[in-house]
Structure formats: C-alpha cells, structure tokens
C-alpha cells in the first residue's frame, strides 16, 4: 500500500496496548499472602486494544479524564514509548519497531507539542539555540544564513519577534513559550503533529491565541493533528473527529458534529453534560455514581460498568467491541448495541 492509495490513513494504530510494570525489581514483586511468599507482577493497563486511523489533513481529538490513557496514546504514537503490543503505522510503514537511524526520517515528519510550556523548553538554551538545533540536526550542511532565515521565518509565523531570539525561556510568558514550542516543532517541516494538552496550562485569553495559531499552521502547512485534551469545548471547535477514551479503552469514535449532536455511549453523554455552560442557569448534568476503577485491577467486561446506570450482566462479563453505527460512528457499548438506552 502506498500513500497515493485513497483512504489510506496518514497514521494508524492497530490494537495498541501499553502496560507499565508497577514493581521494578525482583524483590518488589514478592508479596506475603496467607503465610506464603508469592511472586506477582502488578501492571498498570494504560492503553487497552485501541485502534484508530487519522486521515491526512484531519484533526483527531482524543478526550477523556485523567488516567484514561490519552497522553500514553500520544507518547506511543510520537515514539516516546514502545507499545506492549499492537502497532503504529505512518503512511503505510510500521514505525514502532524502528529505531535510531531508520526512525529519523519519520521523527522529522512527526512532531509533538507538550502540555507544559514551562518544562518543554530547555531553560539553559536561548530561543535561537532551541530553534536552530533541530534545523541543523535534520538538514545537514545547510548554510548558516539559511538556518537563520528558517528560524526567523518560523518565529514570525508563530508571532514571536525574531529580535527576542537571544533571550532565554524564563523571560517569556506561558503563552509566548508555547508559541516557541510550536515554532520548534515547525522548524523541521512536519506533516503530522501530536499535541498533548497544548493549551490546558494557559490562561483563557491566551488559549484562544494558541488555538488560532495551531489552526493557521494547519491551513498553511497542511498539518494533520492528533490533539489530546480534556476540554470538550476545544474539541468541538478544533477537531474534525473525536475519540473518547475511558480507562485506556476506546468508548466512542465519531465525527465531531455527530458526537456533539448525538452522543451514544453513556460515558460520552455524562462527559458532555458535565461541561459548565455559559448560558445555562441550571446545571443539569448526568451524575455518575459508583467507584472509579483503577487501571491496575482492570475490571472484566465493560470498563465503565461500575459507574454506568445501564449496566447489566452482559456488561459485567463481556467487554463490548467498537461497533459501526449507521452514521459512521464507532461505539463500544452493549446497551447501544441492544438499543436499551431509551
């Protein structure tokens, strides 16, 4: 399969799983139970069997609450983590098994923007150094003048005055730092950008500036985004499609308009109803009762069953698979399948 094949996703993950070992050394795995010493390995199931594809030019948003594995998905795709099983494909090539030299061309095509602009810039490097380093590293032998031109061009594109290039990150505000972090990602001319909560650390008025900047970059440079966020209003504005994750499992995947107009999964419904609305005087959200399970002891069956008011015996025993709905949405819910949501 080649890139000219229409319908081929730019990026695809198949049955992606990531487990983190909780106990590092051999001694930590030993446990004292009922008079016996047993050996057990506890694991955090951060991502469980998630499959999705991202088409060129799309902005796929991944939403969910803390601990749902959305950041892990971002890191797996960006190659910062290796999957426990499953695979990541970029433009038809499997990339999660590549390393070092073979991965370099893909690393250039795929960039990442991080959540915390106070941590994502090296505090000991000037803006100029921060932005020049990737250019030099990926375009070997580029004359000095061209490197500087490129850096100045990117700085102008993100709205950072090139005269500030000699300054250090601590001299900038959060919003300006995030612009610089975006500029750094853009210096290597990527096609695909993973953005992990890029605006959640910023103030409201600055959030709009950064979102606009990212939309501009998308239009002008033809970027494809994977956008991780917990803020549903941003999703509605920014995303073309939305994936809802709960406890590392895909609940619902749909076009943004479809999802907001007609959320299917009980968790998606609760999530949407919980967003504080400006014009609504009377909060009327769906209350979720019950214990929130931890990803250490993954429940059998549907991961959402403990908080779901529609859960029945089947939900407790059998994990629902994502099923295609008539309007193209994917929903993993027995209640939706059996049409007993009412």
């Amino acid at each position: 399969m080649r890139g000219d094949d229409i319908g081929q996703p730019l990026l695809e993950i198949r049955h992606l799983e990531k487990r983190f070992a909780l106990d590092q050394g051999f001694l930590e795995t030993l446990r004292f139970r009922k008079g016996h010493i047993t050996r057990e390995r506890r694991e955090v199931h951060a991502v469980n069997d998630v499959s999705l594809g991202i088409a060129r030019g799309e902005a796929l948003c991944v939403v969910g609450e803390s601990g749902c594995g959305k950041s892990t998905v971002a890191r797996l795709i960006a190659g910062l983590l290796t999957p426990s099983s499953g695979s990541v494909h970029y433009d038809g090539t499997r990339i999660d098994t590549l390393s070092g030299r073979a991965l370099r061309p893909f690393r250039r095509k795929m960039q990442m923007i991080f959540q915390n602009p106070y941590a994502s810039l090296n505090p000991r490097m000037t803006i100029q150094q921060t932005l020049e380093e990737p250019v030099r590293n990926h375009f070997h032998g580029l004359p000095r003048a061209q490197v500087e031109d490129k850096v100045a061009e990117v700085m102008r594109a993100v709205g950072v005055d090139p005269n500030w290039a000699k300054r250090y990150p601590h001299e900038f505000s959060g919003g300006q730092r995030q612009r610089i972090a975006i500029a750094r990602a853009l210096t290597v001319d990527p096609d695909f950008v993973v953005a992990d909560e890029p605006i959640s650390a910023l103030d409201v008025s600055i959030q709009a500036q950064v979102l606009n900047l990212m939309l501009e970059a998308k239009d002008e440079r033809g970027l494809t985004y994977l956008f991780i966020t917990h803020d549903l209003s941003v999703v509605q504005h920014f995303g073309t499609r939305v994936a809802v994750l709960y406890l590392g499992t895909l609940c619902e995947l749909a076009d943004t308009a479809t999802l907001f107009a007609n959320p299917r999964h009980p968790y998606t419904k609760a999530l949407l109803s919980a967003v504080p609305q400006l014009k609504d005087d009377h909060p009327n959200h769906i209350r979720l009762r019950g214990e929130i399970p931890t990803p250490i002891n993954m429940p059998t069956g549907c991961p959402f069953k403990s908080r779901c008011s529609y859960a029945n015996d089947r939900c407790g025993a059998e994990q629902p698979r994502p099923l295609r709905q008539p309007d193209g949405a994917l929903v993993a819910c027995h209640a939706v399948e059996e049409d007993r949501l009412g």
């Binding site: 991965l103 380093e133 972090a181």
Partner: protein
Amino acid sequence: MSNLSTNPEKTRMQKMWHSNIAYSFRRNPVAIVSLAVFLLIALSTLFAPLLAPFDPYDMTQFNILDSELPPAWEQGGEARFVFGTDAQGRDLWSAILYGTRVSLIIGICAVAVQALLGITIGLVAGYVGGRVDSLLMRLADVQLSFSTLMVAIIFLAISQALFGSETFNEYALFILVIVIGVAEWPQYARTVRATVLAEKRKEYVDAARVLAFGPLRIMIKHILPNSISPIFVISTVQVANAIISEASLSFLGLGMPVSQPSLGSLISSGFDYIFSGSWWITTIPGIVLVVLVLVINLLGDWLRDVLNPKLYKG
C-alpha cells in the same frame, strides 16, 4: 512573568549583577567575607614565589641554627621569620604559603578527577537506566562502603612499599590526586544521577527525543547544563573534604613528603615538637587549614541555599 517591551537589552555584566545569585551574594555578609578570605588565600598561594621570603624547597637556604625560632611577636622571635621556623630552620611563613598551594592544588585536582568520573557515570546511569544503572550504582555503593581514608591508606601504603619512598615522594602529588579522586567519585555519581532522573522526566527532554537527537547530544547538551547547580554545590564541599583527606594522609606520613610540605605534612612535622614548647609549627598551619576549609564550606552552604533550596535540607 516577563515584560519584554520594558526591558532594554542588557549587557552580560548587567545581567549577572541583577541575577539572583549576585543579589543574594550582596545581601549575605558571611558569603562575602568567606569569598574574600578564600580569594586572599588562593591569590597569596598563587603568588607564593613573590610573597615568600625564602624558598622552602631549597634545603641550602635553611640554617640549622635558625631552627625552632618562635614567631616574630614572641620573645626570641626574629623579624625575618614572621611565623617562626620549624625544626629544620625553615621559614614557616614561606612553608605555609607553598604548603597551602600544594593542599589547594591537590584538593581542586582531586575534585576534578572525582567530577569527571562521577558526572560521566552518573549521567550514563541516570539516562540509560535499567541494568546499567543498577550495576553502576551498586558499584558506587560498594565503593562508598569503604571509607575514603581506608582505601587511600591501603593504596598509598602499598605504592610506597612498591615504588620505594624516593619514587613515591617524587610522584606523591599525582598519586594523592588520583587516590582521593577515585575514592570519592560516588558522591558525584549519586548526585548527578538523582538530578538526571528528575530532569529526564521533563518535557524538554521528550521534545529533544521527538526531534531525533541522539542520546549523547541529549545527555551533554540538554540534561547536563540543567544539572549543573547541584554539581556546583557538592564541588565546594568536596574540595574541602579533599583538602582534609590530603591533610590527614600527610599527617599520617602517607602524603606529601616533608621536603615538599603540604599543610598536613607541616602540621605533622611540628607535632613532635609541640610538647617541647614549639607550638607554632603545628598550630599556625593548623589554623590556616581550618580557616581554608571553613570558608570553602561556608561558601558551599551559601551556594546550596541559593541554587537549590529544597535539595539536601532536612
């Protein structure tokens, strides 16, 4: 929070003057006095050949008739020997100037060796992690479980026996630097590893990895510059420790020979005469040693407070 428009470009000096370190230094009299005393000692040892009235390494300048003269202000003292003379008739003031020089050189060079070893090992252990980390850190644990002095004594005693004291005395300085350097690298390795572990989790390191920078570049260009503060802090303490280690070894007769005395060997050489009334041969170099170590430690304390208020406290 920053405001760029109101900040005109500053020169490097101005930036330094306004930096936190400079500010806290200006406000801390202990740090100012310590640095002044340290600079005074360091500069006078640097210019020892100009300041010293005699060459303490030149046996021909000694006169046995001048032996055990008290300091100039005591009865029987002579003006040309400000701090008096030792048992060989050597001018104590000159000997102290040269001796402090030897002590400082050994202290600083030994710490350089420690730092080189420790930082490299710490960086690799922290960044690579896993088995490599476990192996290197267990090695450090083993090394730490022997006290520095014990290792040094055994090593020095063996090499003294092996090379004979002639050869040993000739290379004593290098051997001391190496021994003290090798014995204390785990201090650096542990500190550096701890900071690397903290820095490694920060997003700028992830960003560098996403940009496909190699591990060596990430370690040296990104992580190391951000781990420099704790390295500074322990360096000061380590210099003080190394000077004391050297003094102790010399005192035990395993360090610098009496012909090229360090502070330790001076103290040691005077020890036999302390009960015969010649207190100055031991006491004056002793005071210099205490002052030198004290100011370095005070500077280290101040640096620790400024650079890393949370680390090491409690």
